[in-house]
């Protein structure tokens, strides 16, 4: 018997309103349909009545998390249209801001992913480590989100000399934490059991559904706009594209975690290599024509198409955000999976270990002992062992091995 389960539009786990109509047969998903409209604000139409400078602020507000990727893509498109070459220093500043944003966005995703599977410790950790990045943005641009750093023909604000050591210090402090994070997630048998082989995406499906970004890279499709269409200063620094082959939820998490480390590498090189010089060039009158700008946002390729009729407003602006092509691939990822896997909800009943520094064990109302990190770890190992024993006979219980 088929049943349709709506997930959304306002679901406790979804930050934004969206509706997935999931058709299930028993526990298994047979079809999934996606409907969106709650967030449709008509940005493409509004852009036609704004000047290029104003449209820049508009595209910044497409998405709060990618709030520098869209402006860069839009600037790339207009610069492609009018053949503008931006100064070197501006290129480096663009790279630094974009990579800082990638770090903050990936940490945010990891946190939310932890929240979805009920692993709130990961949520709190990731968002705690994300906070220094937001503060960096406040120092650089004056705002924690929506930085308004980009400008057609360059950047609006400089990264001052005295800010550079602060950025260096922050990312140096962040790096060991990301390593710790990666180890904690990838060594945890419970997390592995929950994430491995869930929502598998094959390479053929990844290509057929036109997926981009970490989703495509986790399925073995080797694309990265930063390498394929070099913009800003990505062709002047050393870094590598992270790919995985499995295409499951775990692979996506691994790609994102490793990309944070690559971003740290890029920022470090950019801060060292950044040459002095002007921040922007004078923008000529925008000629009649069309331009395409692409940018690798944290979630994948961001695409902007601008057509100009010679006035100071774009005649048409087409925006393709990365999620627009990444969400439809749910169709191939989730068919055949269990209902619980849609948002990895059921993981909330999996045990998670308390990662506070120490807890006080209270026995009969009186303080008996103070537990240290080591005690807690041992306690959680013991619990995991018990779970292994308990689930031995069940189908799927072998995953814990």
């Amino acid at each position: 018997m088929r049943t349709t389960i709506p997930i959304g539009p306002y679901h406790p786990l979804l930050e934004e309103p969206e509706l997935f109509r999931v058709v299930v047969e028993g526990e298994r998903i047979v079809d999934i349909d996606w409907r969106t409209s709650w967030n449709h604000r008509g940005i493409e139409k509004i852009a036609e009545s704004k000047t290029y400078e104003q449209a820049l602020f508009l595209v910044e507000r497409i998405c709060g998390i990618c709030s520098t990727s869209h402006p860069i893509a839009f600037c790339n498109a207009v610069e492609d249209l009018a053949d503008i070459e931006i100064p070197d220093r501006a290129k480096y500043i663009r790279t630094i801001v974009a990579e800082l944003e990638r770090i903050h966005s990936h940490l945010l995703w990891l946190g939310l992913a932890g929240h979805y599977i009920g692993y709130h410790t990961v949520w709190m950790w990731a968002w705690r480590y994300r906070e220094p990045i937001c503060e960096l943005f406040e120092i650089i641009s004056g705002n924690r989100q929506s930085y308004a750093m980009m400008k057609i023909g360059g950047v609006r604000q400089d990264i001052k000399e005295e800010t550079i050591p602060i950025i260096m210090k922050t990312i140096n402090e962040l790096e060991p934490k990301i390593h710790m994070f990666a180890d904690a997630i990838l060594d945890d048998p419970v997390m592995l059991a929950r994430l491995r082989n869930v929502g598998k995406l094959s390479k053929e499906d990844a290509i057929n559904w036109c997926t981009v970004g970490p989703v495509a890279r986790s399925a073995g499709v080797d694309i990265d706009i930063r390498r394929d269409y070099p913009y800003a200063s990505y062709d002047r620094v050393e870094w590598k594209v992270i790919t995985q082959v499995d295409g499951d939820v775990l692979a996506v998490a691994v790609v994102r975690l490793l990309e944070i480390l690559e971003s740290i590498k890029i920022i470090r090189q950019c801060l060292e290599k950044m040459p002095p010089g002007p921040l922007q060039v004078e923008v000529p009158e925008i000629p009649v024509g069309e331009g395409i700008g692409v940018e690798e946002a944290p979630r994948g390729e961001c695409f902007h198409y601008v057509q100009s009729d010679g006035t100071n407003c774009p005649y048409r602006l087409k925006i393709r955000a990365p999620s627009y092509v990444n969400i439809p691939c749910f169709r191939s990822r989730f068919i055949g999976e269990r209902i619980s896997d849609i948002l990895l909800i059921l993981a909330s009943v999996d045990p998670c270990y308390c990662c506070t520094n120490r807890t006080i064990k209270i026995d009969n109302g009186k303080v008996k002992s103070t537990m240290t990190d080591k005690d807690l770890l041992e306690l959680s190992w013991k619990e995991t062992e018990q779970l292994r024993e308990h689930y031995k006979g069940y189908p799927g219980g072998g995953l814990l091995e």
Partner: protein, 144 residues
């Protein structure tokens, strides 16, 4: 309070202690939603004051609305507002929810939140910082 609900001492007492919040995005760009969640995470940690995000409007005392109200979200906003136990506080979070911001005049919007439901506290900013959000909640509680 904006609604025609008479506040008894009991309800005032009930509202003031540990207000639970429901978050509704009616067409936001995610910025305000993120900053709202940020206020819950270790740096700001409003949970220590008993402020909690809940999954159902029926459990909530505070309704956070982010973003301009789109045509599609309008009936849902009214529906959610009707479900919340009254008296409740409505907070318009961010410039879009307060005035419409840059999206004013779009074809797929109705207007800022206060055109549709009564709003108690406006927190402007694009996005408002978590400090501003906390300060807004404090002001809202002081109103009771």
């Amino acid at each position: 309070m904006s609604d025609n609900h008479k506040l008894t001492d009991m309800s005032r007492w009930g509202l003031k202690k540990s207000p639970w919040a429901f978050h509704l995005s009616t067409g936001s760009c995610n910025n305000c939603d993120i900053e709202l969640l940020d206020a819950l995470t270790p740096r700001f940690d409003v949970e220590r004051f008993g402020i909690l995000l809940v999954g159902s409007p029926r459990h909530a005392d505070i309704l956070f609305v982010t973003g301009i109200v789109t045509v599609q979200a309008l009936p849902r906003l009214i529906h959610v507002y009707n479900q919340i136990a009254k008296p409740c506080l409505v907070i318009a979070l961010g410039t879009c929810a307060c005035t419409g911001g840059i999206f004013d005049g779009s074809y797929h919007q109705i207007g800022p939140v206060d055109k549709i439901i009564p709003v108690d506290v406006y927190i402007p900013g694009c996005p408002p910082k978590p400090e501003a959000i906390i300060s807004g909640v404090v002001k809202a509680l002081a109103k009771i």
